[in-house]
Symmetry: C2
Subunit: 417 residues, 2 copies
C-alpha cells in the first residue's frame, strides 16, 4: 500500500476520555476510531490486523475439524428463556431491543443457544456426531464500565467454537485437540513463548476445571502460578492444595506472574443441549444427552493484548504474522531514489511481501517516527547516499538493530520472516 | 469437502411460517437457519456462498480505489441527532437499545454518520481528497413485516461505500467509475446479462437521479422500462417525458419488465459532511463543502435474488463463481469406485477446484437429488460401470446436459468454468 493513498495518518491527539494504553496507541497510529467507550471501529490498517488474526484462528479451527457458520446478532427471547439466560437478573449484561410489534429481542452476547438450535434439524443419530461448529462474529455486552480499550469492549469480535460429543471420553479427546490448536494459534500470533494453558474455575456448569490461556504481561488483570518446566499454570482463583494435587503440581515449582487472558475453553456438559431438546439416539435406539464444550478467543481482545505487551515508548511493535505489513519502505531523496523505491516496492509485492510504501513528501525523521509508531516489523530505507553504496538500510522495529544489506541479502532476510 | 463431514443435510420440512421461495430453498438445501422472520443464520454451505459473493465485491471495490474499514453496530445518539436521523418520526426502522446508565444507543441501520465521523481526524486539506471508504457489514432494520427471505431482512449483510470528492466534477468521475465497477460485479456474480443500470428517484438529497441496478426477474418487486440496445433502464417511479428527454431515451425503444434491485448508488451532496462538520480547505485556504456519494450492494439480498432467479423445480442453480463448490462428485459402487473417487477428489482439489464429495452410503438417486437441490454447477459421477468404459459422467446443473468424458476432457472442461 502506498501511504499517500491511505486515508489515515498518525495523530498527536487522542480522545480525552481514552485511558487504555492499547486504544491510545491504536488511535494515535490510525488503526481504530473510538465511537464510544468500549466501541471501536477499525480503520484500514486496523482491519488488516484483525483479518490477519482472524485468518490464523480460522485455519487452526478448520485444521482441528471446525465447520464455520455465521449466527445472527438479533436473538429471539424464547430460545434464551429455555436455558434461563433471558432474565436480566440471571444475565446482567444483555443489550435488548424491541420489534415494531413490541416483541423484545436480545442482541447476541453469546451464541450457545442459537448454535444448538441450528443443529436440531441435522443431529438425531450417533452417526451425526461428534462435530465442531464455530463462528467469527461480533458480540455485544452491556458492561457497566468499559475502560480497557480492546481488552474488554461493549462490542467486540470473537471466535467461538462449540463441540458436540457422544460421551465424556469423546468430549475429552476433542477438548484436548482444541487445547493443542489454541497453543498453535498463539505460536503463530507471536505470543506462544509467553502463553500458558492455565487451570481455572469451571464455573457453574461442571465440577471440572476450565482452561484459560494466559499471556504474561505486567499489566495483566490476573495472577497466575506458572510451572515453567511443564508449561502449565494455575489461576489464583483455584490455587489450593486440592487443585495442585489434581494437576500433579508442587508449590515449590510455581512462580507467581501477572498475566492477561487471551482465550478460554470449558466443558458445558449437557446444560444447553438438554434445555433446547438436542439429543441423539445411540446404536440401540436409546435417547442420549450430548456432551458440549465451548472454546473462545477474543479476536479484537488479542489485538489489544499484543499492543500492550510489546509496545515501547516509540509506539506499537507488531509480531510479523499479524502486522498490517511486513516492510515499511522509506524513500529519501530525489528522482533516483524515487525510481529505485518504486521498483523495490513492486519487486517486494511480486514476492508476496506485504509492504507499506511511505511515498509522501515528508521529512525523513517524520517517516521514521511514523514507521515506529505504526509498529511495522522491518523498515527498509532507500536514499541517494545508500544508492551510491548499493545498499539498503534495514532496521528491525523490535530491537532497533540497523544493518546495511545488498539486494540479495535483503530478500534473503525477508523470506525468513 | 467430504459431505459425510458436513453437519447439514438436505431437509424435507421447512418452518411453517416461511413463505419466501429463496429462503425455502436455502433452508431445504441446508444453507441457512431461520432464527425469526427476516433474521437468518448462515450454515457452512451458506457461509461459503456469502464469502464468495463478498470476495468478488471486495476485489472490485479495491480495484476502484476503495479502502476497507469496519464500523460498529452500536451507534451514539448524538451523531445521528446532528443529521436529524435519530428521531423515530424521521427514521422509522431503527432498532434501539440502552446502556446501563440509561443512555439510548442505535443499532446500525446505515453508516453515513460514523464513516464521516471517523474521517474527521484525517481530512482537512484538498490534498486529503478524493477518497473512497467501504465496509462489508451487518445492518439492522426494524421492518414491520419481513416475508421476503434474504431479499429484505431485519438483519442482513451489506457492502456500503462512501465517496468524498472536492467538486461536483470529481464526484461525477468517481460515481461513473463505481457504476462501471458495479456492472463488473454483476458480470462476475453471473447475472450481468440480465442486470441493467436503471435511473431512479434521487430521493430527498438531490434533484439528480439516483441509479439502481436491476436484475430481470418474474418475481421482481419493481417495474422498469428497458432500452435493450443501450442497456439502460428507467424505474417506473421516474418514467415520464422529462426523464426520458434528460436520458436521451425514446418511449418506442423501451420494453416494460419486472425486475429486482441488486444495488443502488446515489449522490448525497454535502448533507452529511456539512452536518457533521467535515470540510476541506482548498489551495487558497478557503473552507469548502465535500461532495459525497453512497454505493450499496446487499450481499445477502443478492444471494437470495440469485436463488429466486435461477431455481427450477429440482432446486437451486448457482452460477459457477459463487457456488459453494464447482463440482459435486458422486461415487456409486464398491471398493474400486471408492478408490477412484478418493483419488479424483484429491486431484481436483490439487487443481484448485472446489469440490463437494458425496462419500455417504446413500442410494444414487438420493445423491443426485441432493446435488440438484444444492445447485452445484457440475455433477461428476464415478461408478463401476463407468470405470469399465474409462469415462466420467458429467452433468450440467443448469441444462441437465449429460456427457461421458475422459479424464483429460473432464479437467479441460472444468478449467474453462
Amino acid at each position: 500500500m502506498r501511504l499517500s493513498q491511505n486515508f489515515t495518518k498518525t495523530r498527536k491527539t487522542i480522545p480525552a476520555d481514552e485511558v487504555a494504553k492499547n486504544a491510545q496507541l491504536l488511535i494515535r497510529a490510525g488503526y481504530i476510531h473510538k465511537m464510544m467507550a468500549g466501541v471501536y471501529a477499525y480503520l484500514p490498517l486496523g482491519k488488516m490486523v484483525l483479518d490477519n488474526i482472524t485468518q490464523i484462528v480460522r485455519e487452526e479451527m478448520n485444521a482441528a475439524g471446525g465447520q464455520e457458520v455465521q449466527m445472527t446478532a438479533l436473538q429471539p427471547r424464547e430460545l434464551w428463556e429455555r436455558t434461563d439466560r433471558w432474565d436480566d437478573k440471571k444475565v446482567d449484561n444483555w443489550f435488548k431491543t424491541t420489534l415494531k410489534n413490541g416483541t423484545e429481542l436480545g442482541v447476541g452476547l453469546s451464541h450457545e443457544e442459537p448454535i444448538v438450535d441450528s443443529l436440531r434439524p441435522f443431529v438425531t443419530s450417533y452417526k451425526d456426531l461428534p462435530l465442531n461448529v464455530y463462528q467469527i462474529q461480533t458480540k455485544f455486552r452491556n458492561e457497566l464500565r468499559a475502560k480497557s480499550g480492546l481488552l474488554r469492549g461493549r462490542e467486540f469480535i470473537m471466535k467461538d467454537l462449540y463441540s458436540f460429543a457422544r460421551t465424556q471420553q469423546e468430549h475429552g479427546e476433542i477438548y484436548e485437540r482444541l487445547a493443542a490448536a489454541y497453543l498453535r494459534v498463539y505460536d503463530r500470533l507471536g505470543i506462544g513463548a509467553d502463553t500458558y494453558r492455565c487451570a481455572a474455575d469451571g464455573g457453574y456448569f461442571t465440577d471440572k476445571f476450565s482452561d484459560e490461556f494466559q499471556t504474561l504481561s505486567d499489566v495483566g488483570e490476573d495472577t497466575i502460578y506458572v510451572d515453567e518446566a511443564k508449561r502449565i499454570a494455575v489461576n489464583k482463583e483455584v490455587y489450593n492444595d486440592d487443585t495442585l494435587q489434581k494437576l500433579g503440581l508442587r508449590r515449590e515449582d510455581l512462580v507467581e506472574k501477572r498475566a492477561v487472558e487471551v482465550g478460554n475453553i470449558f466443558p458445558l456438559e449437557s446444560k444447553y443441549s438438554d434445555a433446547l431438546d438436542l439429543y441423539y439416539h445411540d446404536e440401540h435406539g436409546q435417547r442420549q444427552s450430548i456432551v458440549m464444550g465451548c472454546y473462545g478467543i477474543g479476536i479484537s481482545r488479542v489485538m489489544g493484548v499484543i499492543v500492550e505487551k510489546f509496545a515501547d515508548d516509540r509506539g506499537i511493535v507488531w509480531p510479523h504474522a499479524i502486522a498490517p505489513a511486513q516492510v515499511y519502505l522509506v524513500r529519501i531523496g530525489g528522482d533516483r531514489a524515487v525510481r529505485h523505491a518504486d521498483e523495490l516496492y513492486d519487486e517486494l509485492r511480486a514476492q508476496g511481501i506485504r509492504v507499506i510504501y511511505d511515498d509522501r513528501d515528508e521529512r525523513p525523521g517524520a517517516k521514521f517516527a511514523d514507521a515506529e509508531l505504526m509498529g511495522i516489523p522491518t523498515r527498509v530505507t532507500i536514499s541517494d547516499r545508500l544508492l551510491e553504496q548499493q545498499r539498503y538500510e534495514v532496521t528491525d522495529r523490535a530491537t532497533s538493530e540497523t544493518t546495511l544489506l545488498t539486494r540479495d541479502e535483503l530478500f534473503g532476510t525477508l523470506e525468513h520472516n
